[in-house]
Symmetry: C2
Subunit: 387 residues, 2 copies
């Protein structure tokens, strides 16, 4: 743990089959005006909409609804939510859905009382939070983003075609999050595996940085192994409770700050995907999976020992008799195999990107990286390799 760090994560987690039993108790902690934010009909299909409405009624709340939050939540929706918060003196924003809904709720929370344009202030200029916020509570229906236990909020501004993530201070974390793995049973397979690769990418983007000897890397390896193990079980049997519950907890642990402590981190894969998402609206984890293979092949030589460790510890590559390069590449190939095993598309073409957009996408990305500084020209190369 070479680098100094601070850690503070005040989200209360209620996890398990009976986690929803805590909803009424949590609601009692807030005033009566609730903004109930959700996506589409899926929460109605599994009876969750009704369960939430009943809890809100039985605790005497006045409910304002904001529905139709998109998989890549838009700035327009954020501004609409912010208006609703002000007009209805909202005491709690209750987000029910996946990471997009929770991200949107946090964006509404910081935007409602922001003077000036919140997009410019918080997602472009990255100014420190300078206004009051509204508490957020979450009921999670999909495993992936860890938005349920962090202060991150990824928003797409359609007007400028930019999808940008911002991590706020912990006061923006959901104050409570209810995680029932059973709610993820009915998530369509492509969404499930997209979530799994989002989790894997969070872990890898923290893992593949630094050459220090760090407890955090060992913790990441543990979570990665559990994730891979349980995903294989869930692919066979989507209603295997233990598998789905492990995936759900791996997701939360992968981005609640613990797996980033004292790590330099390299978030360029997410940076690239955000722009693919802005242009194609593909599931986030699918975009990450498509980019990761060529990205890591592009940089592995610059962090060779760590890629060998990844191959051996995570994918059981027998390194004896291989050069370091061969062992490292074998690890990346095993990851590519796992992506195929999950049935995730492996090319941008399959998710609707057109060749003429590749330059626009590459040009709209802030270059950067970890083991290697990757320029816009190199990003374009990477995009072409997975087109």
């Amino acid at each position: 743990m070479k680098f100094d760090f601070e850690f503070y994560n005040p989200t209360k987690i209620f996890f398990g089959r009976n986690a929803m039993d805590n909803l009424e108790n949590q609601l009692e902690n807030y005033g009566k005006n609730i903004l109930f934010v959700y996506g589409k009909a899926s929460i109605k299909k599994i009876g969750l909409y009704e369960r939430v409405i009943n809890a809100l009624k039985s605790t005497g709340k006045t409910v304002t609804e904001l529905s139709g939050i998109k998989p890549n939540p838009t700035y327009t929706q954020v501004l609409e939510g912010a208006r609703l918060v002000r007009e209805n003196s909202i005491d709690l924003i209750l987000a029910v859905g996946g990471g997009s809904v929770i991200d949107c709720a946090k964006a509404i929370s910081v935007s409602a009382f922001c003077e000036g344009d919140p997009w410019q202030k918080y997602w472009v200029d990255f100014e420190p939070l300078g206004n009051k916020t509204v508490p957020v509570g979450a009921i999670l229906t999909m495993a992936g983003t860890a938005s349920e236990m962090n202060a991150g909020s990824v928003i797409t501004n359609e007007a400028v075609m930019i999808k940008e993530g911002r991590v706020f201070t912990p006061e923006v974390n959901p104050e409570f999050s209810i995680l029932n793995p059973e709610y993820t049973y009915t998530v369509p397979k492509i969404q499930m595996v997209s979530g799994v690769f989002d989790v894997m990418s969070h872990l890898l983007e923290q893992y593949f940085s630094g050459e220090d000897d760090n407890t955090t890397d060992y913790i990441i390896e543990g979570i990665l192994k559990s994730l891979i193990h349980s995903t294989r079980i869930a692919l066979e049997n989507p209603t295997d409770y233990e598998a789905r519950s492990n995936i759900m907890w791996c997701a939360t642990m992968a981005l609640n700050k613990i797996t980033g402590l004292s790590k330099e981190q390299d978030w360029l894969v997410h940076g690239i995907e955000h722009q693919i998402g802005a242009y194609t609206d593909c599931p986030h984890g699918v975009g990450l999976a498509i980019v990761s293979v060529p990205y890591y092949k592009h940089i592995y030589k610059y962090g060779l020992d760590k890629f060998v460790r990844f191959a051996v510890n995570i994918w059981n590559v027998a390194a004896v008799g291989l050069t370091k390069e061969q062992a490292a590449l074998a690890g990346i190939e095993k990851m590519a195999d796992f992506i195929k095993e999950m049935g995730i598309p492996t090319t941008l073409r399959e998710i609707g990107a057109t060749e003429d957009t590749l330059e626009k996408i590459a040009g709209s990305i802030e270059p950067g990286g970890g083991y290697k500084y990757v320029t816009n020209a190199e990003i374009l190369e990477i995009l072409r390799e997975c087109y």
Copy 2:
């Protein structure tokens, strides 16, 4: 994650070489009356006493000191601290030292305004916390107990010769904890390795329970591997910053609830050691190490698969050609070798226990266990095996 759980850990962690730079800022959050609790002269030797006093002065605090907290903090000291809190209208209890000092500070916090006898109420009858508490802040000088990030408090009542641990609700957690690994450089070797085995035991007492497939077990394995790896480096070079910092963070992570989530847990090794500690005043981790080898040999057949996994994943036992029993035992032997490698005594005799006390110790322990229910007669057998 088969069993439902709640997770909430509100401690703010400041970690690293410059962690103390946050002290003044944290002190600003509290009123002016501070109870400064510490152990012996060691914090003076490393200049920490002066650093803390200067911070308290510069932030305008009125300081009451309570020093001489023992390695196994006594109930008498807790009552003395509670009296000081009441008489001086204390706003913050600042604990500076190892786990004993922080445990004592928490016990003072819950006892100061307790009606009736706190020992009886909280450490014997395990009543829920029913009175106001005083905030605790911590500056850690020794890695081991994780008291810096949990609500546990182990106290020895000398009058009845009972050492008992109590885990309170998270409101008893230190509100902030400052962890500078450099402070652990001067910890005597026997205290360092005692701390390391305390950490290992925390991990194992959570790991060796249940046969479910649980993300938590993978995380525990990661922390165990990092702990073993960094301990070997720190044994060679006690001022290796990365090694000491990893050990310190492994310690915190090993008992901040994360490594116990959805685990049944088996705390009998701690239960046995607490009574050895009450009779011998030996370093806590030394007592744990002495007991662990015969304890796990006594129960391994009842959780055989998990002990094989431990042997293979943690100690790289080549299980091919071995029976499960052989592989499991080989793992326990590797752990015993590691205890010897650290220079930890392996018999109760060496730490001053006399043969005639073994029955008294065994008889004073609440029987229990995980994979196997262990009776008082069996505990006596285990004690004799390591006498």
